[in-house]
């Protein structure tokens, strides 16, 4: 009847207890602050480590957006040789495909099927035909991926993995390039083929261009047939319906796709080559005198048919120039230059950057600003033209050099005479028209630029690796090696030391930097500040630690802790295996499967544990029981319950545990069905995360079902501890269900837009409204609601008569966990919007996995074992892959960036992409506190102890991510000259670094600083306040 009085009766505490509580909560608040400082300084240390490594490893090229001005009447350095050009790019046309190969070494499938280029070359230069042509070996610059090659071919520069200055979403090349110059000079560029061109050059191409989807490497013919038909319409069978063009570009993908699909050693390669041969014959026969034909490859292919690296096979491609006009070109006098023996090993080669000035000269357009190439000598048929072109190129290189601020003064010598300064060389070349000298100059210049852009900064790399190693060791020491009771006492000492030492060390390094300019690799104030701060943090952390322990002790304890007991061994093994994945490109490629495999292994082991209950159970449990006995119980829980840790699991607990293991296993397997395959996985992987499946009807039905399934699943877990009380129904049944429903509407509309072709209603406004409502509600409103302290307990008065005053608190045992999980639900709601339908299904499975893991860890009494955070970390990786991601740049789902706004707007686009990409990581980083808090009754542990354990678990999770990051640092450096470094290892390193950063931020500021302190104070206030 009078609930209030019963409540006060039950919760009443003596004044003594209240006093104890007050002092405890004060202590808690104080040490909480210090813990946050400690964690954030370690976070800062790791960020600095990442910054240093990235600076040293990621090659950047500064892109200038300047444009070479068009020629005018007063300034026309050279006249156009041809008015029109047909450029045919045959993707992956390796040089040995097009030259005759001796029959004893020839491969029947890919050699001697493509004679047309060489035949024409021989005929025209042997004088048996009146046309002229040149065939050259064309050396691509790594990375030999089509996108990078196209950039290189058109800008004449050396694109790196990440071009500084390139913009965030659009792919359009901003810097000056050949196509842009054609466009600026009034040439109509008509294009057909690989749609990468459309992405790169869209504004400069004719509207009649026909791009084709290029990513489907299994499709051998669509693009090629498209190109051939388009050429027939517009060139070969030209009529009045044909489009007007000055430059006709075709990009054929067949040869490349055959390589990717079957490798070169396959009969389809022969068919493809024969097809291209006859196509080129058709083109040649339809050319007129004023049209230049260029046939080239963008890169080669290796023996497996792939490309991307820098092996000779991948770099060697073909360049063929042809004109109907006699003596349009001049062949080199040296016949040996064109020797095709030994697969053309000694054949004359030109750099791919040289195509830009060559075509600029032939078509009479200005040389693009960033070009570093040198015109091919063979194209000049007159000394005059050669000379004027040389001048033009030298001028352009000089402008570029000045604009870039490249200093050539030192280390520039040839002919053994060092006294030539750049100016002198240029003058001499201008005056005397010394073509060779000028070309030497260009070669040197190119080399210097290459070095400038392709030079790893080993000092920075080493600094990054060292700092990361130290930070990982610090994390492990704080989280595991040093007992948490000692850390509790030490933690107030860290703060002053860290602050003082950071200031001192920064000041010192500044001093050294300003006075001596040392160490030389810290070439700015920013970097010397960062370096000083990092050193300061390390010293600040070390002083309190080494005050108490010796290095040797920590070292020994470290290895003892790694093999302390069975589950610790499993945890260590999992981390080691995950970290060692980066030692091989195949393991890195298949990381998605391997991570699920490891997670399944954990599920199997726990299942075995619950079903067969081996003897070790009792021993580990006895150990943990001892600790919790030391903590003591202040009230409520009887000593038998407190000691229940030492008892073997009851049959019900084992049944429950077995069930949870099965749920974990099943959900992991089901989630692993969802995958967006990465290209390297090839035919062994069928992508299930595609636009078609995402917006298919059955997927929408699944999405509809999870509106009810997610709340039901969470409710089930809450009911295990009767925690589905008070705030829980509001959160789970109203908020969560409601949000999921609105979210379903949003994605339903998106699916309708994608699948229904004749939709005459524009959903844009509705979709933005829905998305913004969800975002506002989930990011702000519910979190504010959580701050109010939603409790999931209920007073259950058994007796109707008030006198007996007997009551139980429902949900008492999980009072911490149930409230904390509401915060996780908040994040879950926020995540849902930014994930595509199938990924939402995956996140539903993740919900089950997460809660099952928490229950398993609790049942096996592993709350303080390192296995808990490690398995959660593993879960986040597994879910990263099953929400339609891969550790590659192209698999980032950029399109979700436009859910909240239709343009790139600072926080919204970024939040959306962050939540989409790192959703599982954020969820896990928040949930790591639940390892401690789940099923934690309020009166067993002191608030400070609770916090210590949360920090310890968070520390292990962070250490797991740091070890992965460190391993990726080391291996990406080791493989820096590997073929696949830019395709596999570098993206993986970026991903490791980013996931460490995200986890750090969420754990330090979300989990420890905000949520845990709020929760612990709040609950302690209720019971003793």
């Amino acid at each position: 009847m009078d609930e209030k009085s019963i409540k006060s009766e039950i919760l009443s505490t003596s004044s003594d207890e209240r006093r104890i509580y007050k002092s405890r909560i004060q202590k808690f608040k104080k040490s909480h602050f210090h813990y946050v400082v400690l964690l954030s300084s370690i976070a800062a240390l790791q960020f600095i480590a990442i910054a240093f490594f990235t600076r040293g490893f990621l090659l950047t090229r500064h892109v200038l957006n300047d444009l070479t001005p068009p020629f005018n009447n007063t300034h026309t350095p050279y006249e156009a040789e041809f008015n029109k050009a047909v450029i045919l790019i045959v993707d992956a046309l390796r040089f040995d495909f097009v030259i005759p190969v001796e029959s004893d070494t020839a491969n029947q499938y890919y050699h001697n099927n493509f004679p047309v280029l060489y035949d024409h070359f021989v005929q025209s230069n042997g004088g048996t035909s009146s046309d002229s042509s040149i065939l050259l070996k064309f050396i691509a610059d790594p990375p030999t991926t089509t996108l990078q090659r196209l950039k290189g071919l058109t800008t004449g520069s050396l694109p790196t993995f990440i071009d500084a200055g390139s913009n965030f979403n659009g792919n359009v090349i901003e810097e000056d390039n050949l196509i842009k110059q054609f466009y600026e000079n009034g040439k109509e560029v008509l294009f057909v083929g690989d749609d990468t061109w459309d992405a790169l050059f869209h504004p400069f191409l004719s509207n009649n261009s026909e791009p084709f989807e290029s990513l489907n490497v299994w499709d051998l013919d669509t693009v090629d047939n498209g190109v051939i038909n388009f050429f027939r319409d517009n060139l070969i069978n030209r009529n009045e319906k044909s489009h007007k063009w000055d430059v006709l570009i075709g990009h054929m993908l067949g040869v490349d796709h055959v390589g990717h699909k079957y490798g070169p050693n396959h009969f389809t390669m022969k068919d493809k080559q024969i097809q291209v041969t006859s196509f080129i014959n058709e083109i040649i026969s339809s050319l007129d005198d004023d049209t230049l034909l260029v046939v080239m490859g963008d890169h080669g292919m290796d023996h497996t048919g792939n490309h991307g690296g820098d092996s000779i096979d991948e770099l060697e491609s073909t360049l063929f120039l042809y004109s109907k006009r006699p003596n349009a070109f001049s062949e080199s006098i040296n016949v040996d230059d064109y020797s095709v023996t030994n697969m053309g090993k000694t054949y004359k080669q030109v750099n791919q950057v040289d195509i830009v000035p060559t075509l600029s000269y032939l078509l009479g357009t200005p040389i693009p600003f960033n070009s570093l190439g040198w015109p091919i000598e063979e194209i000049f048929n007159s000394e005059n033209g050669k000379r004027s072109m040389m001048r033009a190129v030298l001028e352009q290189l000089d402008t570029y050099k000045d604009k870039m601020g490249i200093d050539l003064e030192d280390g520039f010598e040839f002919d053994g005479t060092k006294e030539h300064t750049t100016e002198q060389i240029l003058n001499r070349a201008y005056l005397s028209g010394d073509f060779e000298l000028a070309q030497k100059y260009q070669t040197k210049f190119l080399e210097i630029c290459k070095n400038l852009w392709a030079r790893f900064d080993y000092h920075s790399i080493a600094t990054g690796v060292t700092l990361m190693t130290i930070s990982t060791v610090l994390l492990l020491s704080v989280a595991k090696v040093i007992p948490s009771i000692v850390i509790d006492q030490m933690v107030p000492e860290f703060t002053p030391w860290i602050i003082i030492m950071t200031l001192v060390s920064t000041a010192c390094f500044h001093g050294i930097y300003f006075v001596y300019h040392q160490p030389p690799f810290l070439n700015s104030i920013l970097w010397s500040t960062l370096f000083g701060a990092a050193i300061g943090i390390i010293i600040g952390c070390c002083i309190p630690i080494f005050d108490r322990y010796s290095l040797g002790w920590i070292f020994i304890r470290f290895f003892q802790d790694l093999i302390a007991d069975y589950w610790t061994c499993i945890g260590t093994l999992v981390v080691l295996m995950h970290a060692l994945l980066f030692t091989s490109n195949s393991f890195t490629i298949w990381e998605d499967k391997i991570v699920s495999y490891l997670l399944t292994t954990f599920g199997m082991l726990t299942f075995y544990e619950f079903v067969f209950l081996p003897k070790r159970q009792s021993t580990t449990a006895l150990l943990t029981a001892k600790i919790s006995e030391n903590e003591g119980t202040t009230s409520g829980v009887s000593s038998s319950v407190a000691n229940s840790n030492s008892l073997p699991l009851s049959r019900f607990a084992r049944l429950l545990g077995g069930y949870h293991s099965l749920v974990l296993l099943l959900c992991t397997r089901l989630a692993s069905l969802i995958t967006i395959c990465r290209g390297e996985q090839g035919e062994y992987c069928t992508p299930t995360f595609t636009n078609i499946t995402n917006y298919s009807n059955w997927c929408m039905i699944l999405c509809f079902l999870i509106i009810f399934l997610i709340p039901a699943c969470i409710k089930g877990y809450y009911n295990l501890t009767s925690s589905y009380q008070a705030a829980a129904p509001i959160w789970i049944d109203i908020f969560l269900k409601g949000i999921l429903f609105i979210n379903f509407i949003y994605w339903g509309l998106t699916a309708a837009e994608n699948t229904v072709s004749d939709l005459d209603y524009d959903f844009t406004i509705i979709k933005f409204t829905i998305a913004r409502i969800i975002a506002g509600f989930t990011l702000i409103a519910v979190n504010a609601g959580w701050l109010m302290g939603p409790l999931c307990i209920k007073l259950n008065v058994h007796n109707t008569d008030v006198k007996s005053h007997q009551a139980t608190i429902l949900g008492y045992t999980n009072i911490y966990g149930s409230e904390y999980f509401l915060l996780v639900i908040n994040t879950l709601m926020a995540l849902m919007l930014y994930n595509k339908p199938l990924a939402q299904v995956s996140i539903f499975l993740m919900c089950n996995q997460l809660l099952s893991i928490l229950e398993i860890i609790d049942l096996l009494k592993l709350k303080e074992n390192i296995i808990g955070p490690i398995i959660l970390g593993l879960l986040s990786y597994q879910q990263f892959f099953s929400t339609g991601h891969q550790a590659t740049i192209p698999s980032v789902q950029w399109d979700v960036g436009f859910i909240l706004t239709d343009t790139i707007t600072f926080p919204f686009t970024h939040i959306a992409i962050l939540y989409n990409t790192f959703g599982p990581h954020i969820l896990v980083a928040l949930s790591v506190a639940l390892l401690t808090l789940w099923n934690q009754p309020p009166d067993v542990l002191k608030p400070q102890t609770l916090l210590g354990r949360i920090v310890s678990n968070s520390g292990i999770l962070l250490a797991y991510h740091s070890i992965l990051c460190l391993s990726s640092f080391i291996w990406v450096t080791h493989f820096r000259r590997h073929l696949m470094v830019w395709k596999i290892f570098c993206p993986r390193f970026l991903f490791a670094a980013l996931s460490l950063i995200v986890t750090q931020v969420v754990v330090t500021f979300g989990t420890v600083a905000f949520a845990s302190s709020r929760l612990i104070t709040h609950i302690n206030n209720i019971f003793w306040g």
Binding site: K593, F612, L613
Partner: protein, 215 residues
Amino acid sequence: MTKKNKNVKKRVTFSDDTTITTHHTHKKKDLDYDRPPVYIRKTITTVPFHLLALLYYYIKVSNNYDTLRLLLTLIPLQIAYLIFQFNRCTIYGNKRLKINIPLLLITIGGSVLLSVPAMVIIILFGAPFVEHIFQTWLLALHASFLAYPALYSVFNCDFKVGLWKKYFIAIMIGGWISCVVIPLDWDREWQVWPIPVVVGIYLGAFVGYSITAYI
């Protein structure tokens, strides 16, 4: 009441439980009847050399890794191994039990049945579900017939002895480790599913049958 108890007891023992219960009962029995528990003699006779021979046949001799034929050879050899080697080294109490022919046959059926949960486990670990289902089943059959002698002994002890699970674990560990080679891009013909795992479980079984007596 007694009936209920009986039921409960049966359920506990069925799950091959463990060591805690069985040990208790055994200790009791030891005291009562002065009988040592079931154990394997530490002799070289338990080493299953035929598994190595089969592996040699599989890798070197057989044409294109004929997994089915390997299975058909494995079954009689495993039965022979059980009769002539394994059973002779197994001491129940203080005597050897004669081979139980009906149980031998039942165990064959048991092995075939065991292949279903084995297949479930393999699929849970990430084996393809729809395609290659026959190959997966073959692998599961291999695993369960490798465990055949242990399974026979489990039946022979009425599920009461925890010793035999070591054999199952050894086979699983062998398969687990062998998965390492699957993702490697060496493009070898033996990297096809399920060849590496077949080799792995054979090696696991070989090690298991050889050393379990000592651990």
